[in-house]
């Protein structure tokens, strides 16, 4: 008796009762859903982990090509064969970067968080020095990756995999950000020439698929440059990606700018602040805060779209993956490769999404 009373007062019990089993139909749907989730997740976990091969197959042999995969020895009885990822891990992460120089990429990966936390978290101790580092980082990073002055030069044609994906994604987003603010402000400018230029730029870039821009950058950019100057492929792609991202981000920011009441600018002006001071201290902080969700939306979109550089001959993560599955030694391991690539993309995109939620929460200054 007393047990059943304490059970009914248990908050988990009453939550389940109210939300999962409030009626017969709800109860049946709940049970069916649980069964469905169980089936899908048990299949997936078995395939990816419990019945999968990593380094050795079920006989204990080291897997050196696809014929050693358990699932190819006993079809239908084993899960994924992750050996393809493990054996080709270097390519996935560094592309064709020389193995003995890979520490330089690792160093850049290792320094990247230090360059970003200064921007991401404003209550950090010694934040000033982190910000200095953020501004130095592009130069340090480029020097480390490309080489020169004591380090062997590693041309960008050797870069690939996650390195290219991150290089295009992170650099593209960071370069596009200031550009997009200028475009958004320009589009709302009272000066007709500036306004027209910004509108044409934004509408033109938005009206063209990224693939077209990549082709254009690849084929047409050299036409506009003096004879003999051949910017390398990766930089051309970076230009295209940055322009593309800045147009989209500019529209997201313009949405935020439009949501700021006119009175904010009037109050700032009546206090004697100049246009730039009002914009920097009053309008932009509020507009950017409102635009966080759409900005992050475009960032996530761009990060995934970097895989399109495949078509102009750059090997990003997806490009390396496609090369891996077309290797005769490892053929027909599509699932493993694409699941792995999806997971890597998901981790970065989910990270961006969570960070934007954190920012929104932190910047909330009212009680609503």
């Amino acid at each position: 008796m007393s047990a059943s009373i304490s059970l009914t007062h248990n908050k988990y019990y009453s939550w389940c009762r109210n939300n999962l089993f409030s009626s017969w139909i709800n109860g049946i749907i709940t049970i069916l859903s649980i069964y469905f989730i169980y089936e899908v997740s048990s299949f997936f976990l078995n395939w990816t982990i419990f019945e999968a091969d990593f380094v050795n197959n079920f006989r204990g042999e080291k897997i050196t090509d696809r014929t050693f995969c358990s699932k190819n020895i006993e079809p239908g009885q084993h899960g994924a064969c992750w050996a393809i990822i493990i054996v080709r891990f270097h390519q996935f992460v560094y592309g064709f970067y020389p193995v003995e120089e890979a520490w330089r990429v690792n160093l850049v990966y290792g320094l990247l968080p230090f360059a970003l936390i200064g921007i991401f978290f404003d209550n950090l101790p010694f934040r000033k020095y982190f910000i200095y580092f953020t501004f130095l980082f592009p130069f340090i990073g480029y020097f480390l990756l490309y080489g020169g002055a004591g380090l062997d030069v590693v041309g960008t044609s050797k870069w690939g995999g996650l390195l290219v994906t991150l290089f295009l994604g992170v650099t593209g987003i960071l370069l596009a950000f200031p550009l997009s603010i200028i475009l958004a402000l320009g589009r709302r400018s009272k000066m007709p020439v500036i306004k027209t230029i910004c509108i044409i730029f934004i509408e033109f870039i938005r009206g063209v698929p990224l693939i077209t821009l990549l082709f254009t950058a690849n084929v047409m950019l050299p036409l506009f440059l003096p004879e003999g100057v051949r910017p390398d492929n990766l930089l051309r792609a970076l230009v295209a990606v940055t322009l593309f991202q800045s147009a989209y981000m500019a529209e997201a920011i313009r949405g935020g700018l439009q949501a700021i009441p006119k009175g904010q600018l009037e109050a700032a002006q009546s206090l004697g602040l100049t246009y730039w001071q009002s914009t920097r201290k009053i309008i932009l902080p509020q507009a950017l805060k409102i635009s966080i969700p759409p900005i992050v939306n475009t960032c996530i979109g761009l990060f995934k779209d970097t895989s399109l550089v495949l078509i102009i001959g750059l090997f990003d993560l997806l490009g390396v993956g496609r090369a891996a599955v077309s290797d005769i030694d490892w053929a027909k391991l599509h699932y493993e490769v694409y699941v792995f690539i999806s997971l890597v993309f998901f981790i970065f995109c989910f990270g961006m999404s969570r960070y934007s939620l954190y920012l929104e929460k932190k910047l909330k200054t009212d009680n609503s």
């Binding site: 206090l271 602040l273 509020q286 910047l363 200054t365 009212d366 009680n367």
Partner: protein, 246 residues
């Protein structure tokens, strides 16, 4: 003869085809408190917004402190530094704390050190009697408190002239008094004030000139005694009878 700080001569303004201000003449002496009333759409807000160039006039002449308002940005900046403004909707900066709202302009416009301008901000917060709210954000304050912060924010620039654009119209009735008290105190200290308001009790206490506007014109300008007891134009009489009979 006391110094004239604001002169409006034959000021005209149009919004496209709509003639908002028609041949406005207004002269304000130092220390004068002028209360402007009139029906909505009569151009009273537009008129005071022209004085710090939140709106541009198209014809006529506006001179503030001997500086004429033209398209010259230098003149506009100069005038805005000396003319404070309080808005109906407070227009506090919601992303900044109360203290930062007030110290922002001294830091950026007057290039004052941060510490000094925060001390000034605190002293004005004490003046409007809410120093304990310094660290809060505007969204956490009541309407009356927000408007008092807005007044403190304007005062921190140490202006000679204060413009009030319906400062109590957006407030709940019980908060109007706390804002009017601050304004009365300011008037007693000799601030030059132009106030657009329908608070006739306040007008009787502080105003030394009343202005009634209708359809873009100044219909009547008189001392409060005369204005309330013996208005000349029929339009003023009608307006006063409507506004005083609640």
């Amino acid at each position: 003869m006391t110094e004239q700080v604001i002169q409006l001569e034959k000021v005209n303004k149009w919004y496209d085809d709509f003639h908002v201000l028609k041949d406005i003449d207004l002269f304000v002496e130092k220390g004068q408190r002028i209360v402007i009333c009139g029906p909505s759409g009569s151009g009273k807000s537009t008129m005071i917004r022209c004085i710090n160039r939140l709106e541009a006039h198209q014809k006529g002449k506006i001179v503030v402190h001997g500086t004429e308002l033209t398209n010259d940005l230098k003149n506009i900046d100069l005038i805005r530094k000396n003319v404070g403004m309080v808005f109906q909707q407070f227009n506090l900066f919601p992303h900044l704390s109360v203290l930062d709202n007030i110290s922002l302009a001294p830091i950026w416009v007057k290039k004052m050190p941060k510490k000094e301008s925060e001390e000034i901000a605190m002293s004005y917060l004490e003046k409007v009697k809410i120093p304990e709210q310094a660290e809060k954000f505007p969204g956490q304050l009541s309407g009356g408190q927000q408007q008092r912060v807005a007044i403190a924010r304007s005062l921190a620039m140490n202006p000679d002239i204060m413009l009030f654009d319906e400062p109590t119209s957006a407030l709940d009735p019980e908060m109007i008094k706390e804002v009017l008290d601050v304004m009365i105190q300011l008037a007693e200290e000799g601030m030059t004030m132009l106030v657009v308001t329908h608070e006739m009790g306040f007008a009787k206490t502080v105003a030394d000139q009343m202005i009634f506007m209708d359809e873009g014109r100044i219909v009547e300008q008189a001392k409060p005694d005369e204005f309330f007891n013996n208005p000349k134009s029929d339009r003023t009489k009608l307006f006063l009878s409507q506004i005083l009979n609640h």
